[in-house]
């Protein structure tokens, strides 16, 4: 493993971890889903570096693509699709109102 790879791994690790923390901390559900899809994306890149192309493909297709799609569709049906985040005040700490459905 070359030095440059090591740096990349480090960056990816940082990205993945901070995205994971983001998922829990951001108030907006859409942002949370977005952050949640960054995690598998970063992981997929990591997997490539770990010499696991099959896993990387699957993680990208299933984890990043499909799962985000599912979550996004669900968000819409749950009525949590609030881009601006004015009404939605739900995260780890605050919970009460979860915003009204947009449609």
């Amino acid at each position: 493993m070359t030095e440059i790879e090591l740096w990349i791994v480090m960056l990816l690790a940082l990205m993945v971890l901070s995205a994971a923390v983001m998922v829990l901390l951001v108030k907006n559900h859409v942002a949370a889903v977005a952050a949640a899809s960054v995690v598998p994306l970063g992981l997929a890149l990591l997997f490539v570096l770990m010499r696991a192309p099959d896993v990387a493909m699957t993680e990208a297709a299933v984890g990043a693509g499909l799962s985000s799609l599912i979550l996004a569709l669900a968000l819409r049906r749950l009525g949590l699709w609030q881009i601006d985040g004015v009404k939605t005040r739900t995260n780890l700490i605050k919970t009460q109102s979860e915003g009204h459905r947009n449609a």
Binding site: D54, V62, L69, A74, G79, L92, A103
Partner: protein, 228 residues
């Protein structure tokens, strides 16, 4: 207070596990089974992609279980969400790009999907990845034109036949006097499309099943009901 305990808890857990994991010999796995499989896989399964030979050969029953899980998840989701095909209230009509792009992408995605599935034993990729792409291919028009419905009947037929053909291929080996799911028709032509005998067929089954199930699942999730 609550968050503090939570963070302490998470940090402590992570640290503890890290302390444990640092005892592991990173980068030099024992390779007991892995090594043996690497040595034997090309001859036994005829696949150059050893992951594929593990997925479909050595751990074929895992894959069967996984398919079943996906099937169970789809069926459960279907049970939960019900069958009402009332529709399409609020999903906004896709724009021009989405509409026509979707139409153009459809054959492309289909081709890529099947390509990935069929070359799963030679190159990275295989049934799951290809299946997801197939699902995307079918789901894309749905995004573009919310009014369109997937043909659920057809999907479930594909799904059922794909799944059962996976098992049938396995049972065929059994009826030949071999073990269940034993690879058959392995050719001595490593690197060729036909080298792996029944493996690509299995992957095809996997791909179709995954594709059909995911497409069904997605369309279930996508349809909005008037009562919501």
């Amino acid at each position: 207070m609550r968050n503090l305990t939570g963070l302490l808890f998470a940090g402590g857990l992570g640290f503890m596990l890290l302390a444990i994991a640092s005892g592991l010999d990173f980068g030099a796995p024992p390779m007991l089974v892995g090594g043996a499989i690497q040595a034997a896989a090309p001859q036994e399964t005829g696949a150059t992609n050893i992951v594929t030979s593990v997925v479909l050969g050595y751990r074929g029953i895992d894959t069967l279980g996984e398919l079943s899980i996906l099937f169970a998840a789809a069926a459960s989701a279907g049970l939960v969400l019900g069958r009402r095909h009332t529709t399409a209230g609020t999903l906004t009509e896709g724009g021009f790009v989405l509409k026509h792009g979707g139409a153009m992408l459809f054959p492309l995605l289909l081709t890529i999907g099947f390509y990935i599935i069929f070359h799963g034993h030679l190159t990275p990729g295989g049934g799951f990845q290809g299946g997801v792409i197939l699902a995307a291919a079918f789901f894309l028009p749905l995004l573009a034109r919310p009014g369109a419905r997937l043909h659920h009947g057809m999907l479930s037929v594909i799904e059922g036949f794909a799944g059962s053909s996976f098992i049938l291929i396995g049972l065929a080996a059994l009826s030949e006097g071999e073990a269940f799911l034993q690879p058959m028709l392995v050719q001595d032509a490593l690197g060729q499309l036909v080298s792996a005998g029944t493996l690509p067929l299995l992957y095809l089954a996997v791909g179709l099943k995954v594709g059909a199930e995911l497409a069904g699942l997605l369309s279930h999730l996508a349809q909005t009901e008037s009562e919501v």
